[in-house]
């Protein structure tokens, strides 16, 4: 019992601590492909450190949603880390609280509030980014449903660790055609939901061409740090889900 709680906490810490590293490694790889040297893989940590030590500016015109959202965006991936195993193949301590569907809902809560906060500011780019994100979401969600229910249907369960076990034992299951197709579909989903090229350009700076970035344009200081960290968490969780 004690071990399980420990593992549970350990998993949360791992997700929190290593999510920025994943982003750092990815951006470094991207720079190398472009024949550049690129920033250190620790750069996301430095960015977070810097942002936490900066003043925060909050528009007087914005409501509580704007102030509240960074915490939700930061906390929801942690909740999911409590539900869905990354390191273990047995149920986590809180696993009874929700299955994969539950995890998806919790994650989309963060997305929902991020969209609300973007509309909450009077910034013209925020609502544009929010509506674009929702649009991508509408298009991506049916695919997600199909992927999700296919893996669950075969495994006869929506509990993550059972599904995971079913698909890797025996190992031949992993290379089943249906699974290969699902993995491909899931890769597409990650491109769409993670805001990667060709759906979105996370390194793009032009305000009009942004999808995800423009939602957090109004944030600064601690709020920005939490939004960023939560974003790192969510995107690395997305990757872990497959």
């Amino acid at each position: 019992m004690f071990n399980r709680i420990l593992f549970n906490l350990f998993q949360v810490v791992v997700v929190l601590a290593f999510a920025p590293l994943v982003s750092g490694v990815l951006s470094r790889l991207k720079e190398i492909v472009q024949s550049k040297r690129g920033p250190s893989i620790l750069q996301p940590y430095r960015d977070l450190w810097k942002l936490f030590h900066k003043d925060e500016i909050v528009s007087e015109e914005s409501s509580w949603i704007f102030r509240f959202t960074p915490y939700i965006v930061f906390v929801t991936p942690i909740f999911v880390a409590l539900l869905i195993p990354v390191l273990t193949n047995y149920p986590l301590f809180f696993a009874f609280m929700g299955d994969m569907l539950g995890g998806g809902f919790v994650l989309s809560l963060g997305g929902f509030f991020a969209a609300l906060a973007a509309v909450d500011t009077a910034n013209p780019y925020g609502p544009m980014g929010a509506s674009r994100t929702r649009m991508v979401g509408f298009l991506a969600e049916p695919v997600f449903m199909i992927v999700f229910f296919t893996v669950s249907l075969v495994a006869g369960s929506t509990i993550p660790y059972i599904v995971q076990e079913k698909w890797v034992t025996p190992l031949a299951n992993f290379f089943a055609p249906s699974h290969v197709l699902l993995v491909l579909a899931f890769l597409m989903l990650i491109l769409a939901e993670g805001g990667r090229i060709p759906v979105d350009n996370p390194t793009g700076h032009f305000e009009l061409a942004m999808i995800d970035e423009s939602k957090s344009l109004e944030y600064s200081g601690r709020g920005m740090a939490l939004m960023k960290w939560g974003g790192h968490d969510a995107s690395s969780r997305n990757r872990a889900r497959s």
Partner: protein, 353 residues
């Protein structure tokens, strides 16, 4: 939807007021002249040599072309006969600048379509060409070479040949980049049938340079009103009919090839001789014209008896092409705006002269 006057990724200041329905741009109003420097007024009362500093510096990316247009105006007032060697060297440098500027424009197009690898490749090529210019003339943007009556310093034939060889290598890489871009379907999707400007509109708005030539409006001052002995060089004026972003990109690549072709002929045509003939200042009025990388450039100068500037007017190509900006942008989506902007290759600094 307002964008600017300061927006990310661009070091110039321009405000766009876009009227939109959803994601579509219905009307666009660019507001320029945030950094108007009144170069024309500043130049009044100055000597031609002092005013040349202003002419070269108001838009650094096409410094040589603007300096050249100014020098040509002063030279034709004073009736100066520029030595042959200086004329050929001027052609060589002007084409080197065109090649470098087009590489820069291609880099911006790649950047706007988020094609990161091609963006870096084109950026490296632009930097290579800047270094070639720097090695040849001691200035990466070719400042301080021109003087009314010729060139300030002579460039040895060997140095020119070396620069030509390096430019040919850069062009080879540029050609390879074009071959790869032509088969990048995601890149072509963003450029084709985007930012369309019809021949009729291009004509009506008097568009200039590669933008006009991509719409089928073949105007090139090197052909129409040859200067510096361009009539002795053998080159084509590339043009396309479609008038979309991809046509403009193809024109840029084709013009880069023609520039190297002219440079090759210029190196062969180099004869030894003087590079500078002192001018005798006198009062008068003259127009100096040059086909700058972005299109036809006109500098109009009136000199007083003692050789000072009485009136000075500049018509840069970007000034004409900003008039056509709305043609390209309207009826297209928000996301296309940066792409259209980069394919039109508009300079704010040149316009805010």
């Amino acid at each position: 939807m307002p964008i600017g006057p300061k927006y990310s990724g661009v070091t110039e200041s321009v405000l766009f007021l876009l009227e939109t329905v959803g994601e579509d741009v219905i009307r666009s109003v660019p507001r320029l002249f945030y950094k108007w420097r009144a170069i024309e007024k500043l130049a009044e009362g100055k000597t031609a040599d002092e005013a040349l500093l202003l002419a070269e510096r108001f838009a650094a990316t096409t410094a040589f072309a603007h300096g050249l247009a100014f020098c040509r105006a002063v030279e034709s007032i004073c009736g100066a006969d520029v030595p042959t060697r200086a004329r050929v060297l001027r052609v060589f440098l002007a084409e080197l600048e065109r090649l470098r500027q087009h590489a820069g424009a291609i880099q911006e197009i790649c950047e706007s379509t988020a094609l990161v690898v091609a963006n870096s490749q084109a950026g490296i090529l632009e930097e290579d060409l800047l270094r070639i210019s720097g090695e040849l003339t001691s200035h990466r943007y070719l400042f301080g070479l021109l003087v009314p009556g010729g060139l300030l310093c002579d460039l040895s034939n060997d140095a020119c040949r070396k620069a030509l060889g390096q430019s040919q290598r850069a062009l080879k890489q540029l050609n390879e980049l074009e071959q790869r871009l032509r088969v990048s379907s995601s890149f072509l999707d963003r450029l084709e049938e985007v930012g369309f400007i019809a021949l009729r509109d291009a004509n009506a708005y008097g568009l200039l340079g590669p933008v006009a030539r991509a719409s089928g409006l073949v105007r090139d001052l090197r052909r129409a009103q040859p200067y510096l002995g361009y009539e002795n060089f053998d080159f084509d004026v590339p043009s396309e009919q479609e008038g979309d972003g991809y046509a403009r990109l193809r024109v840029l690549f084709a013009e880069a090839r023609q520039s190297v072709r002219i440079m090759e002929q210029a190196v062969v045509a180099l004869q030894s001789g003087a590079i500078h003939e002192p001018i005798q200042v006198r009062a008068g009025v003259a127009l100096g014209w040059v086909e700058a990388p972005r299109g036809g450039t006109f500098h109009w100068v009136r000199l007083t008896d003692d050789g000072r500037i009485a009136r000075y007017r500049i018509v840069p190509p970007s000034f004409a092409n900003w008039h056509g900006f709305h043609l390209g942008v309207e009826k297209f989506a928000f996301q296309d705006l940066p792409i259209i902007l980069s394919t039109l290759d508009l300079s704010v600094a040149e316009n805010d002269r």
